[in-house]
């Protein structure tokens, strides 16, 4: 397969580590692994005897479950650490945690953390591959890959498509990784969100078009990614409220009709129905939100396999702690 001829990094931090050839190779591999999930016996022995540590310093149900299912379908053993259940709650530092995880000699570490940069911090200090399952407002590469996989599956390509990303861009690691991935694969991207949820330099940094209002961003779109608004955090501060948000930025039938008739609707979940999307839109034929979840497992299987396999092929000297 194509991936075997490519050089892979030790860790998965963000999609800016990859060119289009790498991204397509990951998607191809994920498609192969997706087939495993459709079998009667949904398991392959690929990572038997390997230990995957799932370190979720920040709450997450979906991503953690998805990684866990992915690891199990590859026959790896998994242990899950969460901030509240681990010694982090007792004031242990990330460095200490890293050293303790290291002592368990895992074959891969999956990390979700509220601080941007935490995965690279661990990646520099751990011998095993580190997979970023979302860090602060920085990156969420597996989410972006499953979005790319879903779009490619439905449209047959990513190159030349127009994708709109709407919502809280400033705090969204999903948006950042998607902007990188989509642009690398040749899509054009338009982004839109309330002023307090935007950051400077988006056009220059990512080559995207930035809009104040969702309508022009949606015009002619092949796919739209609606981002989750964290109501608990932002209500009344960055935005006047959920009702106001729905009226200016929420996706409803009228706004969706500005996009292409076969436009896809994606959302990283969990959805605030009635805020980012009306319930009608959530259930419309355009919605591929649940397919995203299925593809998430396949993408994570592909990445776990790729990076663990890659670590084995690397110089064993590099496997010692720095």
């Amino acid at each position: 397969m194509a991936y075997e001829h490519l050089i892979w990094p030790k860790d998965l931090i963000d999609l800016d580590q990859f060119g289009s050839e790498h991204l397509l190779a990951i998607l191809d591999l994920a498609e192969n692994f997706k087939e495993v999930s459709e079998r009667e016996i949904k398991k392959v022995p690929t990572l038997r005897g390997k230990l995957v540590v799932l370190f979720f310093h920040e709450n997450s149900t979906r991503t953690r479950l998805s990684f866990e299912v992915a690891a199990k379908r590859l026959s790896a053993d998994t242990i899950a650490l969460s901030a509240s259940g681990s010694s982090m709650a007792k004031g242990e530092t990330l460095l200490d945690t890293a050293r303790n995880i290291m002592a368990m000699n895992p074959d891969a570490l999956v990390i979700r953390h509220s601080a941007s940069g935490a995965p690279s911090f661990l990646g520099e200090r751990l011998a095993c591959p580190v997979l970023n399952a979302g860090d602060g407002a920085h990156a969420h590469p597996t989410q972006a890959l499953l979005d790319l996989m879903t779009i490619r599956e439905k449209k047959g390509r990513v190159d030349g498509l127009k994708v709109a990303i709407i919502g809280d861009i400033a705090h969204s690691r999903v948006a950042r990784s998607n902007m990188i991935g989509l642009r690398t694969l040749g899509a054009s991207v338009s982004v839109c969100g309330p002023p307090a949820m935007m950051v400077p330099g988006l056009a220059e940094e990512y080559g995207v078009e930035v809009f104040e209002r969702p309508e022009p961003a949606l015009e002619g779109a092949d796919a739209v990614i609606m981002l989750r608004i964290q109501l608990e955090r932002q209500s009344g501060q960055l935005f006047p409220g959920a009702r106001e948000y729905a009226s200016v930025y929420g996706l409803n039938d009228r706004r969706l009709s500005l996009a292409k008739p076969d436009c896809l609707l994606l959302h990283p979940g969990p959805v605030n129905q009635g805020v980012e999307l009306t319930p009608e839109v959530y259930d419309c034929p355009a919605s591929v939100i649940l397919e995203q979840v299925t593809n998430g497992v396949a993408v994570r299987m592909a990445l776990l396999y790729l990076l663990v396999d890659n670590a084995e092929r690397r110089n064993p000297e590099q496997a010692s702690e720095k």
Partner: protein, 427 residues
Amino acid sequence: MTKPILIKNGRLIDPAQDFDARADLLLEDGLVSAVDPTCSLSGEGKTLIEAKDFWVLPGLIDMHVHLRDPGHEYKEDLHSGLMAAAAGGFTTVLAMPNTSPPVDQAAQIRSLLSRAKTIPGARLCQSAAMTRGLNGQELTEYEDLKNAGASAVTDDGRWIPDAAVMRRVLGYAHVCGLPPLSHAQEATLAPKGQIHEGRVSTRLGLAGIPAEVESMAVYRDISLVRLTGKRLHICHVSSRLSLDLIRRAKAEGLPVTCETAPHYLFLTDEDVGQYDVNRKMNPPLRTAADQESLRQGIAEGVIDVVATDHAPHSVLEKEVEFMDAAFGVIGLETALPLTLRLAEELQLSPKKVAELLSLKPAQILGLPGGTLLKGRPADVTVIDPQAEYVYDVKTSKSKSRNSPFDGWKLKGQIVKTIVDGTIVFEG
């Protein structure tokens, strides 16, 4: 009485006398006792320093350091800080008062100054808090602090957001003869900011600190200088926006001075790279355009002083998630070589280097040093401007290791640091 010191045949650089030529320099009884351009003083009975290949500068003065004493002695204390200063060629440093507890009473000033006298390193000048407990509201007792030996007042680390309080500070500091130093940052604009707001903060998913955080505060501060007619020194200027305001204020004849730090002159926000915590400071590293503008400000003389903002932190504060890492970097031992490099790149004279690192800080703080005029304190820095080496932070005399310049190739080494006629450091 210590033996007289004769520094022979050195290239003596003293901007206060507009002097840059070969001369002998004699130090006796803690004072400069002779400058002899004919180089014919006899070394008999004196400690002789042959300085044929060296520059002889008025003792360097760093008017912005954090020595963490009292309260955070595990990061730095008076001893390690003053020894690191001496190793960096500084004969005098001005310590900031944002310690724990903050230095806001005369007794604390006396205690720090008397402890410092027993340390064989740089001379300590201590600044006092502008407001009680750095609360930004009630003025401290400036006259009492001045009498105890305080050299300046500042709430460094915080800005005084209440304009009426700041107006009173400027007026009263002038009455008591204490230079006020402002940490000009309107932090409410970016309360969670980590690095400069721009492409890099966007890419790294870190909350930004726009340059306006600084320039808004500088504008307010300059407005109060205009209103009161009293002087103000603005600390660690990082942006073009602020510098432009200061340039205009100076053109207007307002009594405003300012400093910048070497890291703003050599690094930009791009150097934060992949979350390098030793490139995290406040104000943050800004853009290449800001850097260019600061360099121009140095060349033009809009920036009076290069000061380090030496801010030691241990691994406990630094080897953590970027957003949790403390702001600040150390700089005492890299300031001189970096300023020499700047001079080379901008084609500034050696006199200008001495002005930035010695004469101007002395003038702003009202210190007798900053020059090698006869009768002035025997504070001298002898350097080898040609010596090249790779800076290894592990060799630092500081207790902390948070330098952004570790591994940099530097040129310019300290040969001797002389304070009050005593050699406190030999390279």
